[in-house]
Subunit: 217 residues, 2 copies
């Protein structure tokens, strides 16, 4: 509500890692930390940490540093961990099933309400904490229950059409595992793309670069 100005994606992207690290420190019983010490441990600069936190108002204290408990709470709020967000999952193939069974949605601040699939043989099944419903019921369901985000684990081909429909029905964000680029930025709908193959190919490039360093040397 009192954001000073638009916060850059770079800053937003670092918040989850801060949260993870602060949780770890809390678990170790540590009660305060300076930006300098945190920077050393996380491999960042103290300046960057202070700049980052100050985008959200600054919650340190001169001469003292940052109180771990307070910091954790502030980060949790920034990440919307206590906002009671809800999600649906669309496409219960291998990946969808793996996520439902294993991914800690609650830990990321989401409750998965339902999963949808067009394969009638799995409709009604309980997977993880939620039940698989018929794909045809999704439209009405979304209008009534207004889930915040949709997890897309369906096939690439239908992804753009399904995404468009979900956005029309009021979905506010997409967690996109389909490997298809969804061009919804124009609509102002945030999309987090998880392209595992891109990640693996990036690793491959870095290995290449590193190997040729050795060859040259």
């Amino acid at each position: 509500m009192e954001r000073k100005q638009e916060i850059s994606d770079a800053v937003i992207g670092r918040m989850p890692r801060y949260y993870r690290y602060i949780c770890k420190l809390e678990a170790e019983g540590i009660q305060r930390i300076s930006s300098k010490a945190l920077a050393e441990q996380m491999g960042l600069t103290a300046s960057q940490i202070r700049q980052d936190f100050n985008c959200f108002g600054g919650f340190g204290q001169q001469g003292y540093g940052y109180n771990i408990e307070k910091l954790k709470e502030e980060l949790a709020n920034i990440l919307g961990l206590h906002s009671g967000r809800t999600a649906i999952l669309v496409g219960v193939g291998n990946l969808g099933r793996a996520l439902l069974n294993n991914f800690d949605f609650e830990g990321s601040g989401f409750r998965v309400l339902y999963a949808f699939d067009c394969d009638l043989s799995i409709v009604g099944q309980q997977i993880g904490k939620c039940t698989v419903r018929k794909a045809e019921e999704m439209h009405d369901y979304v209008l009534v229950h207004k889930p915040d985000v949709a997890v897309l684990t369906l096939s690439r081909k239908v992804a753009p059409a399904v995404a468009r429909n979900l956005v029309e029905d009021g979905i506010k964000g997409l967690w996109n595992f389909t490997g298809e680029d969804l061009h919804l930025e124009g609509l102002g709908i945030p999309v987090e793309n998880v392209h595992l193959s891109d990640s693996m190919m990036r690793l491959s490039q870095f290995v290449n670069a590193h190997e040729s360093d050795h060859t040259e040397a």
Copy 2:
């Protein structure tokens, strides 16, 4: 071998997406494209595309643009898709199993040789295209077969120790799904972190920001 200078992570990070898009264009039967047209379709600038490609030597032609087939081949080489890279997977839990069964390693240029786990009840099982071996055999195996990278799908707690051992045994890169930050940069070993919860929390933040935009307006 003839890299002009260090190529930035930002550029490297865009390569897989270029490759994906060019494959799509090729599948549509398109034979050439200008940086301008590609930029419009991908939501980038023509300048950026030309700069990016020129980091690797530039493979366009004035007055013509880029030949799709040639471009695809160049990108495949940059990504090391034909380098015959090999991988092992460490930790055959739900996630490891899901990857072995579903992820197209070959499509990312890797052949998975073996998976390792300490749970003897699954040792010997064939999952996807590879067999599960005893964790104790891993050390010797890595020394003999020299896989390029390791996919880490084991528990967070043991991740740092296992990673260190693998690096000592000659592993050249890590695909890290453990959620634990691995500090191996000092050793020059590239690590691709896939922190799904970070991704989900980022999405949550973007949804927050977008919602408060509306509230303000």
